[in-house]
C-alpha cells in the first residue's frame, strides 16, 4: 500500500539569510511505521517537519506524501493526509472552546454538520476530553491542552501524524497518559523529540539529525546502543539504558 | 479618553455607531479583497499584545509620573490602516465589556475616536509622509510623535464634539476643547516616543518584519475616498433619521427643569460660574454654551444637536477629502 508513504529526496533548505538548515535529507517512511526524529537543539528537526506538510518549500529536493509529490497544487490534499501537532498547544488551540478547535478542521473540509459532530465526538472521546468540550483552552492543564491539540488533528482523519515535542512540558503522569494514547494509534507516526525514553516505547525506528543532516537511520535499539554517535549529536543514552546508579549494572 | 455611555445621548451614540459600522464594513471588505490570510491570526494576537502592553508603564523622567502605550499608531504601522482599525476595534470592545472602559453605546464613539483618526488620518497622512521611502531613526521618532499628536488631538476633538452634542454636561464647548486638547498634547508626545521606541527595537532586531508590514512598501492608492463617501452618506442618513426621531419623541414626562423650578426663578437665577473658569470661557467662547434646557424646548435642542453633529462630521469629511487630494496630488508615489 503505497498510499501512506512519506518520502524525502535530497531535501535542502536555506533560511532567508542563506544559512543552510537542511543539507540533503533523504528517507522513506512506510505505512504504519512509527519513526522518531532526534537530535540536539538546532539540528533541523522542526524545519524538517515543516516541510512535511508543505509549510516550508525546499530550496531543492522533493517531498512525496502518498502518491503525490508535494507541490503547490497538491498541498491541500497533503495537509489533509498529514496531521501536524505543533510544539506549543497554545498555537494550535486558537478557538474559544475545545469543541470549536476540534471542529475547525472538519468544518474547513466542508463536511456536513452531522459528520462534523461525529468526528468531533470521536476525536474527543479518543483523547478522553469529552467532558471538557466547552472549556476555553486557556483553562486546561498542560496535559489536557496537549490532548486537545491532538484531538484537533485527529478529527481531520489524517493517515500520518507528525508531532513536534509532544511530551515537552508535561508532568510524569500526563506524559505517561500521552504515551499510552499515542501507542493506541494505528497511524503512521513521525515524532521529533528530545525524550528518548519515550522513543524507546513508541518508535521502532529512529532518525538522528545533526547540523541539518541525517547522521543515522535505523532500528531504535541499535542507534541508542551507539553511545559515540549519540554523544556526537548532542544526545545521550536514554535513562533506562544507562547503568543503574546504585549497582552500576 | 474613553467616552462613556453616561456622557452621550442616544442620537450621538447611534450616529457614531453608524459611522464606525460603516468604517468597519469598509475595512472588512477591503481586507477580504486582498489580504493574505496570514494577517488574520496576526491581527488577533497583535490586538491582544496592545491590550497587554497598555498595562505596562514606564517612568517619565523628572516628572514622577508614568506613561504607557495606546497602540493605535503601532498597529497601523504593523498592519496597515484597515487591518489596524479592526484590530483596535476589538481591543476597545473587550475593554468596554470587561473593564467598564466606555460602554456599549459609547463604543461607536470610542472606536471612531481612537481608531479612525490614528489609522486613517495620522498614519497615512503624517507618519508615512514623514518617513518617506527610507527609514531613519530621526524620521521615525519625529514621524511617530507628530502622528501620535495629530491622532490624539483629533480623537479628543471627537470626544469634545460628541460630549457637547449630547448635552449631558454643562461645560462650554470651547473651554472643554481647550482642556482636552491641552491634556492630550503630552499624552501624544508620550505615545509617539513609546511607539517609536518599540518600532526602532523591531527595526534593529528584525527589520524584515517592518518590510513585510508595509513601512517601506508604498501604500498604494489611499483607500480613503470610498470610505469618506460612505461616511458622508451614513452621516446624512443618520442625522436625518435621528433628527426626525428626536423631534417627534414626546418629552413631556421627564423630570424636567420647567416642572422643578418656579417660572419666575428661571430668568432671575442666571448661572454664576467660578470666576477663573468664567474668564477662560469669556476668552475662548466660540459657541454659545449649550446649557439652557429650560429655555430651548427639548425637541429643538435634540434636533439641533443631531443637525449640528451631522453637519460637523460632514464638514470634517469634506476637509479631509480636500486635504487628501492635495497630499496625493503633491507627492507622487513610487513603487508598483
Amino acid at each position: 500500500m503505497s498510499h501512506h508513504i512519506v518520502e524525502a529526496k535530497e531535501l535542502k533548505f536555506n533560511y532567508p539569510d542563506k544559512t543552510p538548515a537542511l543539507q540533503g535529507i533523504s528517507f522513506r517512511i512506510h505505512h504504519g511505521e512509527s519513526v522518531a526524529i532526534v537530535g540536539g537543539n538546532g539540528a533541523g528537526k522542526s524545519t524538517l517537519l515543516l516541510h512535511l506538510n508543505g509549510y516550508l518549500e525546499p530550496t531543492s529536493g522533493q517531498v512525496r506524501v502518498g502518491d503525490y509529490p508535494l507541490t503547490r497544487e497538491t498541498v491541500k490534499e497533503v495537509r489533509r493526509t498529514v496531521g501536524m501537532v505543533f510544539q506549543d498547544p497554545d498555537d494550535q488551540l486558537f478557538m474559544s472552546t475545545v469543541r470549536e478547535d476540534v471542529a475547525f478542521g472538519p468544518l474547513n473540509l466542508g463536511l456536513p454538520t452531522d459528520e462534523v459532530n461525529n468526528r468531533v465526538e470521536k476525536a474527543l472521546e479518543t483523547v478522553g476530553l469529552s467532558h471538557l468540550e466547552d472549556r476555553p483552552p486557556h483553562r486546561l492543564s498542560a496535559g489536557q491542552k496537549r490532548r486537545a491539540a491532538i484531538a484537533s488533528v485527529l478529527s481531520m482523519s489524517p493517515d500520518i501524524l507528525v508531532m513536534d515535542e509532544p511530551s515537552a512540558g508535561l508532568d510524569p503522569k500526563a506524559r505517561r497518559n500521552l504515551i499510552g494514547l499515542l501507542e493506541s494509534f494505528e497511524h503512521t507516526k513521525i515524532i521529533a523529540t528530545h525524550d528518548l525514553d519515550m522513543v524507546i516505547e513508541l518508535c521502532d525506528r529512529t532518525i538522528v539529525m545533526h547540523d541539518g543532516e541525517i547522521r543515522a537511520d535505523g532500528p531504535t535499539d541499535e542507534i541508542f546502543g551507539d553511545a559515540e554517535l549519540l554523544e556526537a549529536c548532542r544526545l545521550e543514552k536514554p535513562l533506562r539504558m544507562q547503568g543503574c546508579p546504585v549497582c552500576s549494572k | 479618553m474613553h467616552m462613556a455611555d453616561a456622557l452621550i445621548s442616544p442620537a450621538t451614540g447611534g450616529a457614531m455607531w453608524a459611522m464606525t459600522g460603516t468604517v468597519a464594513i469598509y475595512c472588512s471588505a477591503k481586507i477580504k479583497d486582498k489580504l493574505d490570510d496570514r494577517k488574520i491570526p496576526l491581527m488577533g494576537v497583535l490586538g491582544a499584545f496592545v491590550f497587554a502592553a497598555q498595562m505596562i508603564n514606564f517612568a517619565i523622567p523628572a516628572t514622577g509620573s508614568s506613561g504607557h502605550l495606546g497602540g493605535g499608531l503601532l498597529l497601523a504601522i504593523l498592519l496597515g490602516p484597515s487591518a489596524a482599525f479592526l484590530s483596535l476595534a476589538s481591543v476597545l470592545t473587550v475593554q468596554a465589556l470587561f473593564f467598564a472602559d466606555g460602554g456599549l453605546l459609547a463604543l461607536g464613539c470610542n472606536i471612531f475616536n481612537l481608531g479612525f483618526f490614528p489609522c486613517f488620518i495620522a498614519y497615512p497622512l503624517i507618519y508615512r509622509k514623514i518617513i518617506g521611502q527610507n527609514l531613519t531613526a530621526g524620521r521615525l521618532l519625529f514621524g511617530a510623535i507628530a502622528a501620535a499628536i495629530v491622532g490624539l488631538q483629533l480623537g479628543s476633538l471627537g470626544v469634545v464634539s460628541q460630549t457637547f452634542l449630547s448635552g449631558i454636561i454643562p461645560l462650554s464647548f470651547s473651554s472643554f476643547l481647550l482642556l482636552m486638547q491641552a491634556i492630550h498634547l503630552p499624552i501624544g508626545v508620550i505615545e509617539g516616543i513609546a511607539t517609536a521606541g518599540i518600532i526602532s527595537f523591531i527595526w534593529k532586531t528584525r527589520p524584515e518584519i517592518l518590510e513585510n508590514g508595509g513601512v517601506t512598501k508604498p501604500l498604494g492608492r489611499l483607500p480613503l475616498r470610498g470610505l469618506l463617501t460612505g461616511l458622508a452618506i451614513t452621516t446624512l442618513l443618520t442625522s436625518t433619521v435621528f433628527v426626525w426621531f428626536v423631534s417627534t419623541r414626546p418629552d413631556g414626562l421627564e423630570w424636567s427643569l420647567s416642572r422643578a423650578i418656579a417660572p419666575t426663578a428661571q430668568h432671575s437665577a442666571e448661572k454664576v460660574p467660578a470666576p477663573a473658569i468664567q474668564k477662560i470661557q469669556e476668552k475662548t467662547a466660540l459657541l454659545p454654551d449649550y446649557k439652557f434646557p429650560g429655555q430651548i424646548p427639548e425637541q429643538t435642542a435634540g434636533s439641533l444637536a443631531g443637525l449640528i453633529g451631522g453637519l460637523l462630521v460632514l464638514l470634517f469629511g469634506l476637509i479631509t477629502t480636500i486635504a487628501l487630494k492635495k497630499c496625493t496630488g503633491a507627492t507622487p508615489r513610487a513603487g508598483k
Partner: protein
Amino acid sequence: MPSIIETALYDIGRLETLAEKDTVVHRLDPRAKLLVTLAFILAVVSFNRYSISGLLPFFLYPAVIIGLADLPPDYLLRKLLIVSPFVLFIGVFNPFLDREIILQIGSFGISGGWISFLSLLIRFSLTVGAALLLIATTGFPAVCMALAKLGAPRILTVQLLLLYRYLFVLIEEGITMIRAHALRSFGRRHLNYRSFTQLLGNLLLRTIDRAQRIHMAMLSRAFTGEIRVSRPTRFGGREIVFITVGCGAFIAFRLINLTDLLGRMIMEIG
C-alpha cells in the same frame, strides 16, 4: 505594576467563571441578552441630564438579573466603584459650572450642577452595570457569536475571538517578563524607557512569531482564509418573552415616572 496586569487577568477570569453558571438567564440565547442590554442602555441615556427620579426604576433590571442569574452583587459593585476616571473627571465640573439653584428642599438649595452630577453617576452605574451583567451571564465568546449572527462583519468577530483567546497567553507572557525584570531592578516602581521598549519590543517579536505559528496550525487544518464556527443556537419562546418583557418594561419606565408617581401617591395618602 505587575499587580495591574494580574488584577486584569483575575478580573476576566472571574467574569468568565460567572458566565459558566447554569441559570435561566445564562441559558437564554446570547442575541436576546445583547438586544435587551442595548435597549436598556438606550432607554437610560435618553433621559435628560437632570433626570434622577425617572432613572431610579431602571435599577430594577440589574436587581432582577443579579437575582435570577445568581451573581455576587458585592463583586459587581466593587467593579463599578473602580469607575472610569473619565466620567468623574468631566462630571466633577458640573457643580462648579452650573450653579443655578433648581431644587429647594426647605431652606437648602441644590444647584443644577449637583443634580446633573448625580444623574451622571446614576447613568454611569446603570450602563456600565448592564454591560458587566451581559458578560457575566453570557461570556465573551457567546457575545461575539451573537454579534456575528446579528450581522457584524465576520472578520471583526473572528478578531474578537482571537484577541480574547490570546489575551490570556500574552498577559501571562507579559507578567513573566515583568517579573524577570523586577527581580533585577531592585524595587524601582516603573520601567525606564529603555527597558520598556526592550521589554515590549521582545514581547511584540514573540507575538509576531506566535501569529506565524498559529497561521501554520490553521493551514495544517485546511484553513482557507475563513474561520467557520458552528454553535447551536435556540431562539425560542423564552427569548421572545425575555425581549418583550425587558423592552416593554424599559419603555414603560421611560414614559411613566414611577418614582414620581409613587411619591405623589404617598403624599396623597399622607
